[in-house]
Amino acid sequence: MSILIDKNTKVLVQGITGNIGTTQTRYMLKEGTNIVAGVTPGKGGLKVEDVPVFDTVEEAVNNFPIDVSLLFVPARVAKDSVLEAIDAGIKTVVLITEHTPVHDVMEMKAYALQKNAILIGPTTPGIITPGECKIGILPTNMFCSGPVGIVSRSGTLAYEVAANLCAIGIGQSSVVGMGADRVAGTNLVDILKLFNQDKDTKVVVIVGEVGGTQEEDAAEFIRKEISKPVVAYIAGTSVPPGKRMGHAGAIIEGGKGSAKSKIESLLASDVKIANRLYEIPSLVKELIS
């Protein structure tokens, strides 16, 4: 078991003929992801490796059963491409693209909600269920299969946390990058809900960072709804207010979004806090045994 994706998941890649789309498709195919089709408008009829390319998502869906669409499209067409996938009936959409205008993200999020679809991202490294399926850009050699669910706002921190867990023999059920923008297609709370329902996930690790109130909302939700042990780490205790730290969403503004506020909220919900990244493995190990 896992969340969102497993070995049976059939994947469409939108933007498959672009540089990143093609490179990452090759990595994923080599690692066993079942990519059944690709889409690039105007490139219908081509093949990337052995994957057939269509002009529209509708054509792809008419030819193959598809569970998840993974998008490597330029930010300026991200909204159009996400709405196209949702309108074609695809229920899980993963948007890797960085620097998507937040007004577009608001529309995508609202549209996904309306159509009962799950939008992961933007600015996400994707999702991996180690040993079964990877949808995104996560370097597979950082992950291994096991009982820990990881949800992270940052991509690279998810890699590091997973690698550090693997180093002491603790694997992951699924790892989800929820994205690092101001607005996330799917909120932390919704991903926690999925991990809570997954019977192979024994411990959940939240990798948060400064900005917004996702972690504060999660704390409230954990207190009320989550029965599994949760470990959390918040990046950015040394971040000064008012400066945007790379991610569109990583900014302490209007007195909201400091690491301190997040850590205090999570502590109040009995979440185990790793003050530094390297403390995560030992905290998880204690909770598993």
């Binding site: 960085e98 205008p101 921190l157 960072e209």
Partner: protein, 294 residues
Amino acid sequence: MILKKVDIKKEIYLGITIDRTSGIPIIMISSEGGINIEEVSRKNPEKIVKLSVDPLQNLYPYQIMSTVKKNGLTVEPLAETVNIIAKLYKIFREYDGLIAEINPLVMTEDERILCVDAVLEVDDSALFRHPELNKRRLDAMSERDKRLMKKGATFVRLNGNIGLICSGAGLAMATMDMISDYPALSPANFLETGGGITSDLMVDCMELVLEQPKLEAIFINLYGGINPIHEGAKGVAKVIRERKLNIPIVAKALGNRQEETWKTLEEVGVHIIKESETQKAVEFLAKLLGVKAK
């Protein structure tokens, strides 16, 4: 600036922002506060009336009118104020606003409405559809800043002694936190490469970091997921060779093509940490510089 004095009857705060969790624009109106709106939001948040707008729908004036009436806000003249709110929302949407504010909106004794101060913060990611604003931003940037921006890299000056180059904002923040655990060390900068590392980008990154005035060492922390870190390593090596650098450089680089990356960096004297824990690399750096943790 010289302004004509007016007799103020009432001051109103009017703001539009994005609720980050729900991903919905929120219009905020308060008949208290004006300039002191931050204090109102802290002490009496109930005095700020909020209206959420469905991002897939238009906002109609009647919705604003009804919000104003239901919450007992006294604004005069009503229709004109509602019209201003509707217009501000239109600007917020059309110009990809992160924040749009009129504060204060002043109602005068002689029944006029004046917008005394206003702020519009525009989403950087949306500037491609606002060429006039984009030009203004570009005109203020150096060629190198433009190249970094084009690649999606972010630099923030922090004035400490350890230069940072990290692939990933979260990783960069976590690295900053670990470095800050050593009283003698503090980040000279935040530098996140974004997902488009090339050899040339790393040359720019290195040069930018080397300009930091208190620099004593450089710490590089990279993951090869979307990033070809083996290409990035070539840029780092080039700067080290050309400038004959002997400032200590510690690097941790993992992921796709990590062995090539290590080899390129080791050849120019970079200290490579092959473990997955950034902490180990930071400890190594501290030892190299002879400093102790708190």
